[in-house]
Amino acid sequence: MMIYVIFGFVAIGMIFSFVRLLKGPSALDRVVSLDTMNVIITGTIVLLAMLFENVLYLDIAIVYGVLAFLETIIIAKYMEAKV
């Protein structure tokens, strides 16, 4: 039961972010929403690890976290350079 509530919240967060991704209006707004979504996804992977009782998902979450960070700063750098 609880799991539905949890995933319901996660889904709401995800959907709202996604709406922002679609709406923009500026490119940076979309990037911000991507960044937010990445955090949500990282959290979701952790949730899945618990759900599937598989510690290996945490490795994935860590790697995802690192890569998401990289993505964010690359885009930020790019945006910054492209005034």
């Binding site: 700063i73 750098k77 005034v83």
Partner: protein
């Protein structure tokens, strides 16, 4: 107009593909027959012998001692594919450096360093490097392996480039690593051919499934791949972050 036509075409194609895959008798959902096929033998590690069942941290001296079955396939059952895959990346890195041969000056973003980022990135780089090495040394036990591990190493190099204006990776040492890792991979294959019977044969004892030291040559191969991929990705990144110098 062109867009509408294109959309129409793609939709028609989609429709045809959909019907031939899911409607006209040929059913992509049929997955049961697969379990009786190749993969089944991979999972039970009974390609060369008949294993009833394999148990974590119990079964020993299997044909393939990797707890991660995907890794078993990638670096053992179909290790030849992986050698090819490594070669593709190798080629790509050579290709990038040849195409961008005139691009030698470091690319500078117009902005000065972000100090928050600069300091933060160092922390993350250290973490990421450990993570990368962890991944390719544990490929036979956990998800990941040489490719993601190597990519993370490459990613940390990228992070250094992004955060520090004066950073240049030492490409020469990366070249050495890349070259040696590749050569050793091939050599391991050939050793298999000569010492044992087949190319890329897993000629080391495979130990106990799930142990850190197990699975014969698999972790070795994955370490090689990790180093190779890491150095290649780094090389590619280095190439991309340089700009053309008028000669």
């Amino acid at each position: 107009m062109k867009r509408i036509v294109s959309i129409l075409l793609v939709v028609v194609l989609g429709y045809f593909v959909y019907t031939s895959l899911y409607v006209d008798g040929f059913d992509m959902a049929v997955s049961d027959n697969r379990q009786t096929s190749i993969s089944d033998a991979y999972i039970t590690k009974s390609v060369t012998s008949e294993n009833e069942s394999v148990t974590y941290m119990e079964s020993t001296d299997l044909e393939n001692g990797s707890a991660n079955i995907v890794t078993a396939i990638v670096t053992d059952y179909r290790s030849f594919d992986t050698l090819g895959e490594v070669t593709v990346l190798f080629l790509a890195s050579i290709g990038v450096s040849m195409v961008l041969a005139g691009f030698t000056k470091k690319y500078q973003f117009k902005m000065k360093t972000n100090r928050i980022l600069k300091t933060g990135a160092r922390l993350v780089v250290g973490l990421a490097l450990v993570l990368g090495v962890y991944m390719f040394t544990h490929g036979h036990l956990s998800p990941g392996g040489g490719f993601p591990g190597g990519s993370i190493i490459g990613a940390s190099i990228l992070m250094m480039y992004l955060s520090e204006e004066n950073f240049r990776a030492r490409m020469a040492s990366f070249k050495w690593m890349e070259s040696l890792a590749g050569t050793v991979y091939v050599l391991i294959g050939i050793i298999g051919l000569f010492v044992a019977t087949y190319f890329l044969e897993n000629f080391l004892p495979t130990g106990t499934v799930g142990a850190l030291v197990s699975a014969g040559i698999i972790p070795i191969v994955y370490i090689l791949i990790g180093l190779k991929v890491g150095s290649e990705v780094s090389g590619i990144i280095d190439q991309f972050l340089t700009e053309e110098v008028a000669s």
